[in-house]
Amino acid sequence: MSALTVTPEGATREEAKRPPRGDRPWLGTDRRHNLTGWAFLLPAALLIFAVSFVPMIQAFILSLQTGRGTRLDWADPLWYNYQRLLGDEIFKQTVGNTFIYLIIQVPIMLLAALLLANVLNNPRLRFKAFWRTAIFLPAAVSLVAYSLVFRTMFATDGFVNDFLANFGVDPVNWLGEPDTARAVLILGLLWRWTGFNMIFFLAGLQNIDRSTIEAARMDGANSFQVFWRVTVPQLRPIILLTAIMSTNGTLQLFDESWALTRGGPAYASMSMSHYLYEVSFQRNPNFGYGAALAYVILILVAILAFIQLKVGDKRD
């Protein structure tokens, strides 16, 4: 605390010196500032309650109901929708797909972003602004836009097959086979999000003390050791932040599944949110079942965030 920080006494004295300006005099400056603060944050807080917390509770109530469209009744038994989910093979497939994306894509992406940030943080590096801008640029493009570019490049008669033909590779039906469809989707995610995460690591690197890195070098550590033993541990809070954001984002994946692979072939690459949309807004809208599905996603997000916080806080 600096000497210049406002203390209650100081503030009151200032207040006493000041002529009354129509403010209610029976409220002390402190109380009044506290209330001003609440007034400042009230609109934002109310909005978040209105568009996040209240609908979340409504969704839970909805998940206990059945019926089509707006004609809804309590389910019998109440947990019927959840019971039905357990036997829903398509749902299980979409959960599996989403976890494949999560487990393969997030670690590769975070590692690549970390390495890129580390290279960019080298003070001798030239054209820094160019590299940074080029690698971040994909993050400015909308998800459905890049999905359609990738869909075009990976079409059976598209660019990627033409390119591979130069090396004698036979055309691959990228989006028509389950494994390759998922692989293309993962490649797309890596393209779109690596630069985005890199920006956070770069910001974090600027706040760590370079002398720790120089000292490690003096002690004869090689680049890999410096990166792994000195840089990475100091970035742990930001790695945790990006890991939670990426997990959260992957579990909510929709646009790529919708526009890049269209969930196909069949349901082989469909994400949970894509299936939720199908159930809730396509063909026969079933809001109750959709809401139950949404709650499963919510619980998975919460569990994974909790695990990451536990793991991330260890060794402190």
Binding site: T36, L125, R151, F159, I199, A203, A294
Partner: protein, 269 residues
């Protein structure tokens, strides 16, 4: 010399990743100037079909209307979000109290709520309010986000309390201190927050798709998906539409990227 050699793997890694990052964008831009056949024949040089593609695109879709909707949504969301979230972040930090810390913690929990979980009830509420097909229904859920409030709160830590005190002694009202002193000094934070909000709002697809039902009311991301869903896709026209849908956010980012980077760095400290 040895030091320079040590940098070679770094340059190599950056070079490869840069090509990976830029190639799809180049492919998109070049394809917009070629015919569908040329796109599939992997023509990687600019062609002379740009104006033809423009003609076909505007004949197939009301691009002007979609651009306008997207622009109104993105601009409206950005302006309102910057006002509401900056005031809130300022309120949390400058008038710091225990109760407000608790409130911030509660609001941060909202980050964990997947949009999917709130989508159905939100749709029902907006349907009841008669706001289906209205751009307001797209804007309202996006203007107050915990992350943006957090960004402003963290950055407000750098706002010197001496200035605040001096302004109070000078008899400035609390609202004027915010509007006349805080806002101009926090320009980098506003730029970062503005870039993030504009890009997110412009690029959002799921919620507009749910709430904008009428075919005539669509955003640019919705337009390009509709264009690709046809029986026969004209890839040249499609890539032109994708290019048009991407340009505004890319331009905004390129113009404000310096302040964007400063703003993110200021918040992570």
């Amino acid at each position: 010399m040895i030091r320079k050699l040590r940098d070679v793997p770094g340059y190599l890694f950056l070079g490869i990743f840069t090509i990976f990052s830029l190639f799809p964008l180049y492919f998109m831009a070049v394809s917009a100037t070629n015919t569908s056949q040329d796109v599939l024949a992997s023509q990687l040089l600019p062609g002379g079909e740009l104006f033809n593609n423009i003609g076909k695109l505007f004949a197939a879709q009301d691009v002007g209307a979609a651009m306008l909707s997207s622009f109104l949504i993105a601009a409206g969301t950005t302006v309102l979000a910057l006002i509401i979230c900056s005031i809130a972040g300022y309120g949390f930090e400058v008038y710091h109290s225990r109760g407000k810390d608790v409130m911030m913690g509660v609001l941060l929990l909202a980050i964990m709520i997947p949009f999917a979980a709130t989508m159905i009830p939100l749709f029902q509420v907006f349907a009841k309010l008669g706001l289906v097909n209205s751009l307001f229904a797209v804007i309202i859920p996006a203007i107050s986000t915990p992350l943006l409030i957090l960004l402003f709160r963290q950055s407000s830590r750098a706002f010197p309390s001496e200035i605040l005190e001096a302004a109070r002694v000078d008899g400035l009202r609390e609202v004027s201190i915010f509007a006349r002193i805080y806002v101009p000094t926090m320009r980098a934070t506003f730029a970062a927050a503005g870039v993030i909000t504009f890009m997110t709002a412009w690029n959002n697809y799921l919620w507009p798709r749910v709430i904008l039902i009428k075919n005539e009311v669509q955003t640019m991301p919705m337009l390009i998906v509709n264009l690709s869903a046809g029986y026969v896709t004209d890839y040249g026209v499609l890539m032109l539409a994708v290019l048009l849908a991407s340009l505004p956010t890319v331009v905004v980012f390129l113009l404000l990227q310096r302040s964007f980077a400063d703003g993110v760095t200021g918040a992570i400290k």
